[in-house]
């Protein structure tokens, strides 16, 4: 992100204030709650006690990362009005929740699930399926976390005018994040998400206000400018682009809904009423987040014409500079914006890290490495693994990729392959572990290899979606061809009718 021209002292004050508030929240989240340290449900799921405010904000702050602001605005700048799709695919995530969350919430509470893999193990009783799901989730989470670390460094150095060097900024905020997560687990993560979600909302509102101020609120003039200077960004998209639009709704809708930290928020809800009310409001949040960022990107076409792909990645920083130069009020508002972006990044990173720790400690360590370990020990292992993973990812983050959006898509290519295990698995009794395993493996390999060799999309359809098609076809056809009677080792548990 481009450095702000107003220097670093006020930026450092904002960051220190944020860090202080997060640590205080973390301290009080864990204080007087011994369960946070000694129980896996207490630490990883806040004892299934997240009320409406905490659940809504943790869903919000986790789903919308810093990339939703600093990565999506350049995308709107480059692709034009067609980026309105980002509003639709964020709503699609909530629509896909409706395919599985109602029933999964009930079963998870009854069976005391901690991780998404618990459902897979409960339903399919297959070690290989459970391990493959865990691996795909860990890959997705690690990549997601890496992206947040990269964005965090860029954001911090941007906000402080490089007064705080990239690496120091990341390490400082990672330590804060680890500290409050260590003290309060999911409860601390959710409560800090309340503060971080509010900061993000204020940040994007300020960015919208500043951007519209720069073009004097003249939307019609903005459209006319784009028509005159970049007509390819304003007309009805061609068939291939529209197919890609539709594909992104499906890919991100299914991919983001089955992210482990997303599923764990379903588990952590205090009640069904809390969960459905939170999701009902989440269905509207794209209009105050990605829609706003979309407008900012379009305004950028008028204000900063002709940017290259890599230069356009700095769009939010450039816009902030321009807005901050208007007067002292805007200067202060832009500080709030950058604080909001940092908060959004940290709130997404802490959720991904906690989820990753839970998969390693509960699904791998507690299940296979040391099955007799106490819950307190599993929690401790999860915390230590989290630190180790962060250390490795930080080493990778020192050389950040140039385009954030590309790695964002890469994550979904693989994570979306676990969707059939949840959505088909919940409702279709005949789905069998064997075909499901081969379907997920084939889908993941296809999507991964296609992406790595840099093959073009097939008429706008991303490799992840093609892989998902192969995956579902193998799982469904294979299950239909499998006799209903199974051997005991991989016999599927009948799907649980929630009301039954």
């Amino acid at each position: 992100m481009e450095n702000l021209n107003f220097g670093g002292t006020s930026g450092i004050v904002v960051l220190l204030t944020y860090a202080g508030i997060m640590l205080i929240i973390g301290y009080f989240a864990g204080r007087g709650r011994p369960n946070v340290r000694s129980s896996v449900r207490g630490y990883f799921l806040a004892g299934r006690g997240l009320g409406f405010v905490a659940l809504f904000f943790t869903l919000y702050a986790t789903q919308y990362s810093g990339n939703s602001v600093i990565g999506y605005a350049p995308e709107a700048y480059r692709s034009g009005f067609v980026w309105w799709q980002s509003v639709m695919f964020m709503i699609a995530v909530i629509a896909v929740y409706l395919l599985f969350a109602p029933r999964l919430y009930v079963i998870a509470k009854r069976e005391s699930f901690v991780t998404p893999t618990d459902w897979v193990r409960h339903r399919f009783r297959s070690t290989r399926v459970s391990i493959l799901v865990a691996i795909l989730m860990l890959w997705g989470l690690a990549n997601y976390l890496l992206e947040q670390l990269v964005a965090m460094g860029q954001g911090i150095s941007g906000l402080t005018g490089n007064t705080v060097p990239y690496q120091i900024g990341v390490i400082a905020f990672v330590l804060v994040m680890l500290a409050y997560s260590w003290m309060g687990g999911m409860r601390a993560v959710a409560l800090t998400d309340v503060m971080q979600g509010i900061a993000l909302l204020i940040g994007v509102a300020v960015l919208l206000f500043g951007s519209l101020y720069l073009i004097e609120g003249d939307i019609a003039g903005l459209t006319q400018h784009v028509v005159d200077n970049a007509p390819e960004k304003v007309g009805v998209p061609d068939g291939e682009t529209s197919v890609n639009w539709l594909s992104m709704i499906v890919l991100i809708g299914f991919g983001a809904a089955v992210y482990p930290h997303a599923i764990q928020r379903v588990y952590a809800a205090k009640s069904e009423r809390t969960l459905k009310r939170s999701l009902a409001i989440m269905a509207w949040m794209p209009f105050v987040t990605t829609a706003v960022v979309f407008v900012v990107g379009i305004v950028g076409i008028q204000l900063f014409p002709g940017l290259s792909e890599s230069s356009s990645e700095q769009l939010v920083g450039m816009m902030a500079n321009q807005v901050a130069g208007i007067n002292v009020v805007f200067y202060l508002l832009m500080i709030l914006l950058f604080g909001g972006v940092i908060a959004a990044i940290v709130s997404t990173a802490d959720s991904a890290l906690l989820s990753l720790s839970s998969v390693v400690s509960h699904d791998l360590y507690g299940r296979y490495i040391n099955p007799r370990s106490s819950e307190r020990r599993q929690v401790l292992v999860g915390k230590l693994v989290g630190i180790a993973v962060i250390a490795v990812l930080l080493l990778i983050a020192w050389n950040p990729p140039t385009t954030l959006y590309n790695i964002f898509v890469l994550k979904f290519e693989l994570i979306v392959q676990i969707a059939p295990a949840f959505i088909l698995g919940l409702y279709w009794d005949r789905l069998r572990a064997g075909p499901l395993f081969w379907g997920m493996l084939a889908g993941a390999l296809f999507a991964g290899v296609w992406t790595v060799i840099g093959e073009e999309e097939l008429y706008g359809v991303p490799a992840g979606l093609l892989g998902l098609g192969i995956n579902v076809a193998i799982a469904v056809l294979g299950s239909l061809m499998t006799p209903r009677v199974q051997d005991d080792s991989e016999a599927a548990v009948p799907t649980d009718a929630a009301a039954g």
Partner: protein, 94 residues
């Protein structure tokens, strides 16, 4: 009032209503400019290309429908949970 309403609600789950997904698919397809002639900008509506206004309209419908489904078509254990809370316990059976 909410509580009274939920007491009379039958068990509901979005997945059990196929029409829900047909309507949602139609809304998504209508919001994606697949069916419009490519490259066309005008007429402008509210200062925006007509196809963007069309897509915004159906995106609003997508949000409204999804939100409505959450609140009105999802009721599996709410009554039991509320009853358990009223009884002073936190356990319930399904």
């Amino acid at each position: 009032m909410d509580q009274r309403r939920s007491e009379h609600n039958p068990v509901r789950e979005p997945i059990r209503s196929p029409w829900v997904w047909v309507v949602m698919t139609l809304i998504i397809l209508a919001g994606t400019p697949l069916y419009l002639p490519s490259g066309v900008v005008e007429p402008l509506v509210f200062g925006l290309p007509y196809w963007v206004v069309l897509s915004v309209f159906f995106t609003l419908a997508f949000s409204a429908f999804t939100s409505w489904l959450c609140l009105r078509k999802w009721n599996l254990v709410e009554q039991q949970e509320e009853a358990a809370v009223e009884d002073g316990g936190s356990t319930w059976k399904i």
